[in-house]
């Protein structure tokens, strides 16, 4: 039995990272508005894998669809959400790329504005804390988003209220063109969080095991009533900020140096070394998943438009679901 079927931790994560990469790369080909997440998979897979069903997931926008996949979302439906077509979970009303699976246990972005979802995540943690039961929230955000005022306010409030939440800074070293080490003055987000009374740790964000283990330690603390923690995961945005980013703000040497640390290749190597996979099997599996997701995304792209009628109100009572089923 190879890593393709077995459920060693690393094998599971590797497959999740492959799935994320395959969806991501298909989107890069078919969607000019996509934000590529290549290179950062170890952060969001490590941070969001293996949680309980009643935990709340609040991913960073870059990687949000991958986290939905991790939770079992159907990639065809996810893709429909991204394209805003008829099968979109929102009926085409809203962007499935940054808000793939909004619900009581999944936080998305409800405008294009960064930072607020961290507050929503902490609010969910407050709700879980009041309900008891030991569930928690994982909230990821980018290095750039870390400088938003609402993030600072939320970290303080989460610490003051000892909320069951694990913050993950997915530091891909850039906010579009601005380097994180310029924009984030001082010694970085872990030091900031510590100053707020939040236990923090620095991890290699290209090592899925390291991210996962840090998450587990933080999760144990949160479930035991020990309050919030922060994980600073350093990784690299291997692609541009968006499609057709001229990338004049960084050198190709830098990009190449980080390409050599691709978290997928790294996990695959570890599996091969552990005898759970041969290089050929790995390559074949990846090819297959890339092809499968290419197929799904290409099909989704050509789907029927939403064609939903425009409602004459944004109030909850005017939405179809509530009109049909009464108050939820």
């Amino acid at each position: 039995m190879t890593a393709i079927e077995q459920d060693s931790r690393l094998a599971t994560w590797w497959r999740a990272m492959v799935e994320a990469r395959a969806f991501d790369q298909a989107m890069c080909r078919h969607n000019g508005h996509w934000h590529e997440a290549r290179g950062e998979e170890a952060v969001f897979v490590g941070a969001f894998a293996g949680l309980r069903d009643d935990d709340v997931l609040a991913p960073h926008f870059r990687g949000a669809c991958a986290v939905s996949l991790l939770r079992g979302a159907d990639p065809a439906r996810l893709a429909a959400g991204v394209f805003g077509t008829a099968d979109s979970p929102s009926g085409g009303r809203w962007r499935g790329d940054i808000c793939p699976s909004p619900g009581p246990r999944f936080v998305g972005m409800f405008s294009g504005s960064l930072g607020t979802s961290v507050a929503y995540a902490a609010g969910a943690a407050l709700s879980l804390q009041r309900a008891g039961g030991g569930s928690l929230v994982v909230s990821a955000f980018g290095d750039g988003t870390a400088n938003a005022g609402i993030v600072a306010e939320t970290l303080n409030l989460a610490s003051m209220l000892q909320l069951p939440i694990v913050f993950v800074c997915q530091n891909n070293q850039y906010a579009t063109s601005l380097r994180a080490d310029v924009a984030m003055a001082g010694a970085g987000i872990a030091r900031r969080a510590e100053a707020l009374g939040i236990p923090s740790v620095e991890v290699d964000g290209n090592d899925v095991t390291a991210v996962f283990e840090a998450r587990e330690e933080a999760a144990a603390r949160a479930r035991a009533g020990g309050g919030p923690s922060l994980i600073h995961a350093l990784t690299y945005r291997m692609g541009g900020h968006y499609m057709n980013d001229p990338e004049v703000y960084r050198t190709s040497e830098e990009v190449e140096a980080w390409a050599a640390r691709d978290p997928l290749a790294r996990a695959e190597r570890a599996l091969v070394e552990a005898g759970q996979l041969t290089a050929d099997e790995g390559g074949e599996y990846v090819e297959q998943r890339l092809a499968d997701l290419e197929q799904i995304v290409a099909t989704a792209k050509t789907a029927q438009p939403s064609a939903r009628p425009l409602p004459n109100s944004a109030f909850a009572e005017s939405t179809q679901l509530l009109t049909e089923s009464g108050v939820r």
Binding site: V56, P89, S90, G91, R93, W94, C99, P102, G103, P104, R105, V107, M109, F110, S111, S113, G115, T116, V118, A119, Y120, A121, A122, G123, A124, L126, S127, L128, R130, A131, G149, I150, E153, T154, N156, L157, M160, L161, P311, S313, A314, F315, A316, E317, T319, Q320, L321, L322, T323, V327, R328
Partner: protein, 324 residues
């Protein structure tokens, strides 16, 4: 009125465990201007009354998140001007969730805010126009204790974010009997005084002032109908239209900033509902387009007073014009 609001919150919290109240000084202090009087003793131990740091965006942001996760938060934001710190989580996003998720997710959330000129001498701006511009956000503003109780119960029961505006000149006025059984719905205006010579539309402090003006007008033989909107969103334009159509003249009395606010939206909705022409003249009595001045005399001149309402009503009423 303040006690009626607190009673509504207390009754709702006793009924429903998922409600919590967060705000600055809402704990042992009892709330700014007694806005949480007695709640700490009843619900504090259960962790349902949360004293907050000065972090308004996160207060509202966490409330939006808690609401999506199953809680029914009430945030006491203290003063309406602080709403300007919360527009992204509250209005741009929180108010869009029901629409954007096609009803899969809702944000049942009440944000309380004091506003208006009053004994506090500061923090008077109500920023209502700012709030009204966002789809999906409800806004209630009671002018008396019974409405306050009913509107607060309705706001807490609602599936949408609701801003609940508490006028500082009304909060600690004369004691009123509270009818907790009144069926008050959001978006429903109330005729506070019937009349046939003209319609005066108002909210908050402008309601008692308009009622006083109506009594003066009655002495001069002009019977004004006074409509209290009670909610700015949804805005009960049907009620206003029916009344003004019947009386033949409309006077809108408004305390908040005059541009792109309640007065403008009221006339726009009337026009939309009437095929583009109105069969009655419309007069607006409201402050000049400036911030509220601080000096007591300037403030008094800025906000429509009873005499100004009487005068404007006389000028607006066809009944007066005819007898002239």
């Amino acid at each position: 009125m303040s006690e009626a609001i607190v009673a509504a919150i207390g009754d709702a919290m006793a009924d429903d465990d998922s409600i919590y109240l967060m705000g600055q000084d809402v704990g042992v202090f009892g709330g700014p201007m007694l806005s949480a009087k007695g709640l700490w003793d009843r619900f504090g131990r259960a962790g349902r009354i949360i004293d907050s740091p000065i972090s308004e965006a996160a207060m509202v942001g966490t409330a939006v998140g808690a609401a999506m996760a199953g809680s029914r938060p009430i945030v006491d934001l203290m003063f309406a001007e602080f709403l300007a710190l919360t527009m992204t989580p509250l209005a741009l996003e929180g108010s869009s969730v029901a629409y954007r998720t096609d009803g899969r997710l809702t944000v049942p959330l009440v944000v309380r805010a004091k506003c208006g000129v009053g004994p506090h001498r500061g923090h008077a701006e109500s920023v209502i126009g700012m709030l009204m511009s966002f789809p999906g956000l409800k806004i209630a503003m009671p002018s008396g204790a019974s409405d306050a109780y009913g509107l607060m119960r309705a706001a807490i029961a609602d599936q949408n974010p609701v801003v609940f505006l508490e006028h500082m000149s009304l909060l600690h006025g004369a004691k009123e009997d509270v009818d907790t059984g009144d069926d008050v719905r959001l978006g429903q205006a109330a005729v506070k005084r019937p009349g046939q010579d003209l319609t005066i539309v108002a909210t908050g402090l402008m309601v008692p002032r308009s009622l006083r003006a109506a009594r003066q007008l009655a002495e001069d033989g002009v019977e004004a109908e006074v409509v209290d909107l009670r909610s700015l969103a949804p805005l009960d334009a049907d009620c206003v239209l029916e009344s003004a159509h019947r009386t033949g003249a409309l006077l809108i009395v408004e305390e908040s900033w005059p541009t792109a606010g309640p007065a403008a939206e009221t006339v726009a909705q009337l026009l939309r509902r009437s095929g583009g022409t109105l069969d009655f003249p419309v007069t607006v009595l409201d402050p000049p387009p400036t911030p509220i001045p601080f000096g007591a005399d300037l403030e008094a001149a800025y906000v429509p007073g009873v005499d100004a309402i009487v005068e404007a009503a006389k000028a607006a009423s066809p009944a007066v014009k005819e007898t002239r």
